[in-house]
Symmetry: C2
Subunit: 338 residues, 2 copies
DNA sequence: CTGTTAGCGCCTTCAC
DNA sequence: GTGAAGGCGCTAACAG
């Protein structure tokens, strides 16, 4: 308890000048003489002075922290996203408070509350797959804490978000399968209530229509994204009278689970195309033949840039309520010939 | 900018009492009359009063934040570890500042610095695979910021750490292979400089000796843990005059890479046992037959508990320089018969 | 160019 | 039981 880290006061004392002079010297304020500046800075480095962030935050009524809530970190998709977020945030001197909702709505709400009580300046969220109730997000709005959603977007009006264009991705997937002579293309979608599922479905119909193919509702089934759920969905397709020769899945994990399942069931010659393009597929013999790359790192970067921009604006004046959003292009990554 | 969140001052004003009374009422101080307490609390909840953490941190010279540096989050191993850390930290009202070193020493150093300048109360680290230089850790010590290492431990004297008992795990792996009639057991180790590699090697020799097997140095090769590195290591084993019939690998990823590699090379009947027991293996047809479970969630919990304990002590009095550490038992998880 | 002063929100003596 | 006052480290408005 003897050697606290030195404060401006200490520097001021040793130099026989006032604290405010020290403060300004360190901020390179124009009104301070070069001589004094040098003296201050010299002593500061000698003493290993470091500003007390806590005091600064307190004073400036800003924490320079942004909260990030993602469903989980173990999917490479989200891990990359985090990296993109961190890279941008650190560059601008913001700290990232990272949390996992584990895809549970309850935990997501708790986390939103925790972040709020920690007075984060802004929040980035990919909503959990359970989330159907948006009151916690509205709470943030009411507290005037800017929020940018990314990749998994709630159905709310006037929100800021960054996502990838599922419509484009789906079209790419469909085009690829059709050009590889697949005739009956099925869709294993995610939970019905998810906006992401609804978008995929819409894009699926749209995509088939573009190619003058008939849309057959019996070729669309739903998984809760658990392993069992995906297998059941797959079985449903197998039981149908029109067995598909290609399947587009909600994401790579669904595809992997299904591939595993049909292999056990000795079913062959069904091709899979999925979303996310997880690197995990590189370890598999049995991977989807193609996957829609959604550029999570880029999404993270863009979302963070947008958020920081909002924070700047907010500091300046009343935030004009213009909701900003962007849909990033996707790219179909082909793992092997169809 | 009109409606700031309410402060004690505001409550005091509305109730025509002093701020200190409000403060004490909220802390349930004994010297405050029950009536006043109730009045204060009622108004506080009505106004949605929430203490300004920043002010409290500032005042208490504590940030209630712990920094966590892990190599990456996309390995399930570390993601689980984080969950364990978060669960304990949140329970005690600490916030977790999570960072990825991406297994780069340079970034690790930067992060240590960033955490220090943010005045985190303590730090948890799993060191990067590149880290050979420990000066940034010593820096933390000098600043009296408690550090607990977990799973990947540097070779420094008197440090606190939690890890899993690689010796036990290795013995379990060897016993399992031998009881499954394997004769020539090889080891694909990680980079030589890593303490974790050195421990595995030592345990490997020890384990063979326990079973009265001869230790053959030509059956130990090294990978830099990249995919290519692992394949080269595998090839080295294949080229040896004594081709092994079983291989123990540094971790699951190495095993997966090798399995893929030998499958392409049409090599069969080499069994793999690895470390970490990553869930990713559940997706594979070609997985190691067993893996040493290292309980990352538990490690995270224990390490955090230890760190928070250290923080308590530190607040109390001079920290007795007793280095605390614990080795957790491992468990061999068998994926299929050997 | 530099010093003085005040205050951010909260806690904590000390006094009544 | 309660109030008044001071201070944590730093910034910024106001005086020179």
């Amino acid at each position: 308890m003897s050697d606290h880290s030195p404060t401006m006061k200490e520097i001021a004392r040793q130099l026989n000048i006032s604290v405010s002079t020290v403060s300004r010297a360190l901020q390179d304020h124009y009104s301070i003489g070069l001589r004094t500046k040098m003296r201050v800075r010299k002593l500061a480095t000698e003493l290993n002075y470091e500003p007390n962030q806590a005091a600064i935050f307190f004073k400036q009524k800003k924490t320079f922290m942004i909260g990030v809530i993602l469903p989980n970190l173990s999917q490479d998709f989200f891990a990359s996203m985090v990296t993109g977020i961190e890279d941008v945030a650190y560059k601008k001197n913001y700290t990232v408070l990272l949390c996992q909702s584990r895809d549970e709505q309850e935990r997501e709400k708790q986390l939103v509350n925790a972040l709020r009580s920690h007075r984060v300046d802004g929040v980035l969220i990919s909503i959990s797959k359970e989330t159907t109730d948006y009151e916690h997000f509205e709470l943030l709005q009411r507290h005037k804490i800017p929020v940018v959603f990314l990749d998994r977007i709630p159905k709310m009006p006037d929100i800021h978000y960054i996502a990838s264009s599922l419509a484009t991705g789906m079209q790419q997937a469909i085009d690829f399968l059709i050009s590889n002579k697949h005739k009956r293309i099925a869709l294993i979608n995610g939970p019905r209530h998810l906006p992401a599922s609804q978008e995929r479905l819409e894009a699926f119909r749209q995509g088939l229509w573009q190619k003058r193919r008939k849309y057959d509702p019996s070729l669309v089934v739903y998984s809760d994204l658990s392993r069992d759920g995906s297998c059941m969905a797959m079985q449903e397709l197998l039981d149908g009278k029109q067995r598909p020769d290609a399947v587009i899945t909600f994401n790579d994990y669904v595809a992997l689970d299904c591939l595993r399942y049909i292999k056990k069931a000795k079913v062959e010659d069904i091709s899979f195309v999925s979303f996310a393009n997880e690197p995990i597929c590189n370890y598999m013999d049995n991977a989807p033949i193609a996957s829609v790359e959604q550029f999570p790192y880029l999404q993270g970067e863009k979302a963070t840039e947008l958020l920081l921009q909002l924070l700047d604006k907010q500091a300046g004046q009343a935030s004009d309520h213009v909701a900003h959003h962007e849909l990033l292009q996707t790219r179909l990554v082909v793992h092997r010939p169809g």
